[in-house]
C-alpha cells in the first residue's frame, strides 16, 4: 500500500472518529433527558404526563423505524440549515445525531426502568423531590447500564457512519466504497474493515470496563 493510501486511511479514520464522537455527544445530550422523561412520565410515575409520553414515544419509534440511508436523504434541507452544507463530514453529524438520539433515549429509558422501584419509594419516604430522585437515585443506580447503553449506541454510530459516505460524508465507509469497491482495491477494503473492527472492539472493551468499575451490585475482591 502506498503512503498516500495509508494517509487516506488515517485521515478517514479520524473523520469517522470525529463524526461518531460528535454525534455521540449531541445524541447523548438530547437522548439522555428524553430517555429520563420516557422512563418517568407514564401515569403514576414521577413526572406523570402520559399523553406527552405517548407522543414522544411515537416520534422516537418513527425515527427509529426509518432506514438510516433514507433518513440521511430525507433531512438534507435540515442538514443544510444546521451545518450550512449538505455534504462533508460536519454535515454528516446532523443525520447521525438525529438517528442516535431516539436510539439513546430508548436504551437509557430501559436502563432507568431496570432500577428497583423500592429505591424510588425509599427516596420518596425520605422526602426527596422527583428531581432529587432522578439525580440522586435513578441516574447513579442506572449508571452501569447507561454506560453499556451508550457503548451500544456508539457501536451503532460507527456502523451508521459508514453509510454517510453515500452523501459525501467522508470517513472509513466512504473510503471503503470509493476505493475498495468502485476502484476494486481489495487491500483498501480489507484495511477499512480491519480498522472498523478494531474501533468497535476498542469502544466495546472500554464501555465494558467502565461499566464494571461503576457496578457495585456484586461483591468483588
Amino acid at each position: 500500500m502506498s503512503p498516500e493510501l495509508i494517509n487516506m486511511i488515517a485521515s478517514s479514520t479520524l473523520d469517522t472518529l470525529v463524526m461518531v464522537a460528535l454525534a455521540g455527544i449531541f445524541g447523548t445530550l438530547a437522548g439522555l433527558p428524553l430517555g429520563i422523561f420516557l422512563a418517568t412520565s407514564r401515569a403514576g410515575e414521577l413526572f406523570p404526563a402520559p399523553n406527552v409520553n405517548r407522543l414522544i414515544g411515537l416520534v422516537v419509534n418513527a425515527t427509529r423505524s426509518t432506514p438510516f440511508i433514507i433518513l440521511v436523504v430525507a433531512i438534507v434541507p435540515l442538514t443544510r440549515l444546521i451545518a450550512g452544507t449538505s455534504i462533508g463530514t460536519s454535515a454528516a453529524v446532523v443525520p447521525l445525531t438525529i438517528a442516535a438520539t431516539p436510539f439513546i433515549a430508548r436504551v437509557i429509558e430501559g436502563a432507568i426502568r431496570e432500577v428497583d422501584q423500592g429505591l424510588v419509594e425509599a427516596a420518596r419516604a425520605f422526602g426527596a423531590s422527583p428531581l432529587q430522585i432522578v439525580w440522586k437515585v435513578l441516574l447513579p443506580e442506572a449508571m452501569p447500564a447507561v454506560t453499556l447503553a451508550l457503548t451500544l449506541a456508539t457501536v451503532s454510530l460507527i456502523g451508521y457512519s459508514a453509510m454517510v459516505g453515500a452523501v459525501g460524508g467522508g470517513g472509513l465507509g466512504d473510503l471503503g466504497i470509493r476505493y475498495g469497491y468502485q476502484r476494486f482495491m481489495p487491500e483498501v477494503m480489507a484495511t477499512v474493515v480491519a480498522v472498523l473492527i478494531c474501533l468497535v472492539q476498542g469502544v466495546q472493551s472500554l464501555g465494558d470496563f467502565i461499566s464494571r468499575r461503576l457496578d457495585k451490585r456484586t461483591r468483588k475482591s
Binding site: 419509594e121 420518596r124 422526602g127 423531590s129 432529587q132 457495585k216 461483591r219
Partner: protein, 368 residues
C-alpha cells in the same frame, strides 16, 4: 379497663388505653383503589381508627393482602386516604401539599423488607442520602452519620457497599439511614421478614434499644406473630382492610377474641392443634373415648398447679398431648392440650372448674 366502642359497622373494637399523647392517629380512614381493567375496586383500608401513643412500639399484624402495607403508607403520605384523617405529630397528612408533605416525611423514618439501599453508595453514603435530600450542609454530614454507624454497630463497615454486607448489616444501614433526619416516628415495613431468626432477634433488640434511648415511636407491620411477641407493646390485628382486634400485646395473646387472632396467637403459643391430633379428633362422645381440652394459662394463674389439683379433686387422669410455654411482655403464657377419660357430666364439671380459674378452656372433641 377498655371501654368497648360501637363502630358504625357494629363490630365492637376495644380502644387502646392511651399512655402518652397520640403521635399517630387514624380517624375513620379508608383507602379505596379504583377498579382497573383486570381487577375490581379494592378496599385496602376500611374505616380504621387507630391511635399510636408517643414513645410506644405498636405492631400491626395481618396476612398479605390484609391492607397493612397501605395502612403504613398512609402515615407518610405515600398513599392518600380516600376518606378520614391521618394525623402525625399534629399534622393532617392528607391535607398537605407536595412540598409540605416532603418536609413532614423527614420526621417520619421508614425501613423496608428488602432494605432498599442504593447499590452505588457505601454504607456511609446511604445513611447520608436523606441528609443530602434535606439539604444538610456537606460539612455537617459526617458528624451525624458517624455516630449513627456507631449506634447500629457498623463503624467498621463505613465504606462497604451493600453487596458486601449481610442481610442483617444491610437492615442496620437501613435503620441508621431512617434515623439520619432525627425522625419522631419510625415506620417498619416487614423489616425482619427477609432475615433469618437469629438476625431477626438482633434487629428486634436494636429497635427496642432505639425506642428506649431516643424515645422514638415505632409502628411496624408484619405477618409474623413471633416478631409481635418480642417487639410490640401494643398490637392491632388486620384482616380485609379492617382492624379486627387491638390491645396490649399481653391482652391479645392471653384473650384473643377473633378467630384470625387466635390463629396468629396459636402460631407462637402452641395453641394451634397439631396436625396429627387434628386427624384423630372426633366430634361425638362414645363410651371409651377421651375428651380433648385446650387450656390457655395466663397471668397469675399461669403458675398454679391446675391439673394436679383437678386430678386430686375429681380422681381423673390427664394425658398431656401437646404444650408450650412462652413469655409475652414478661408474663408467662402457656398452652396445654390434654385428654381426659371422663363421662360427659364429669367433663362439664371439669371444664366449669377450669374456666372459673381465669384460664381459657376449650373443648376440642374426643379421641378414641
Amino acid at each position: 379497663m377498655n371501654a368497648p366502642v360501637s363502630k358504625p359497622t357494629g363490630v365492637p373494637v376495644p380502644v387502646l388505653d392511651q399512655q402518652g399523647p397520640a403521635i399517630i392517629s387514624f380517624d375513620g380512614v379508608s383507602k379505596i383503589f379504583p377498579p382497573r381493567k383486570d381487577s375490581a375496586e379494592v378496599k385496602a383500608v376500611d374505616n380504621i381508627d387507630l391511635v399510636v401513643p408517643e414513645g410506644a412500639i405498636v405492631g400491626v399484624i395481618g396476612k398479605s393482602g390484609a391492607g397493612k402495607s397501605t395502612l403504613i403508607r398512609l402515615i407518610n403520605g405515600l398513599e392518600h386516604p380516600t376518606s378520614g384523617k391521618v394525623t402525625v405529630d399534629g399534622l393532617d397528612i392528607g391535607s398537605l401539599d407536595e412540598r409540605s408533605l416532603r418536609q413532614a416525611r423527614r420526621s417520619i423514618g421508614m425501613i423496608f423488607q428488602h432494605f432498599n439501599l442504593l447499590s452505588s453508595r457505601t454504607a456511609f453514603d446511604n445513611i447520608a442520602l436523606p441528609l443530602e435530600i434535606a439539604g444538610t450542609p456537606r460539612k455537617a454530614i459526617p458528624g451525624i452519620v458517624e455516630p449513627l454507624l456507631e449506634m447500629v454497630g457498623l463503624a467498621d463497615k463505613r465504606d462497604r457497599y451493600p453487596a458486601e454486607l449481610s442481610g442483617g448489616q444491610k437492615q442496620r444501614v437501613g435503620i441508621a439511614r431512617a434515623l439520619a433526619t432525627k425522625p419522631k416516628v419510625l415506620l417498619s415495613d416487614e423489616a425482619t421478614s427477609a432475615l433469618d431468626p437469629e438476625t431477626t432477634a438482633q434487629i428486634i433488640v436494636l429497635l427496642k434499644q432505639i425506642n428506649a434511648e431516643l424515645n422514638l415511636t415505632i409502628l411496624f407491620i408484619t405477618h409474623e406473630m413471633s416478631v409481635v411477641k418480642k417487639l410490640a407493646q401494643r398490637v392491632a390485628v388486620m384482616e380485609g382492610g379492617r382492624i379486627i382486634e387491638q390491645g396490649t400485646t399481653y391482652e391479645i395473646f392471653s384473650k384473643p377474641q377473633h378467630a384470625t387472632t387466635k390463629r396468629f396467637v396459636g402460631e407462637v403459643t402452641g395453641g394451634n392443634v397439631p396436625e396429627w391430633l387434628q386427624t384423630k379428633l372426633l366430634a361425638d362422645y362414645a363410651p371409651g373415648r377421651q375428651a380433648v381440652i385446650r387450656i390457655a394459662f395466663t397471668g397469675a394463674d399461669a403458675d398454679e398447679p391446675v391439673l394436679s389439683r383437678l386430678t386430686r379433686a375429681y380422681g381423673v387422669d390427664f394425658n398431656i398431648m401437646h404444650g408450650q410455654i412462652e413469655y409475652v411482655a414478661d408474663h408467662p403464657f402457656g398452652t396445654l392440650i390434654a385428654s381426659v377419660a371422663a363421662q360427659p357430666d364429669l367433663q362439664a364439671k371439669l371444664i366449669a372448674d377450669l374456666t372459673s380459674t381465669r384460664n381459657t378452656v376449650e373443648h376440642l372433641g374426643y379421641v378414641a
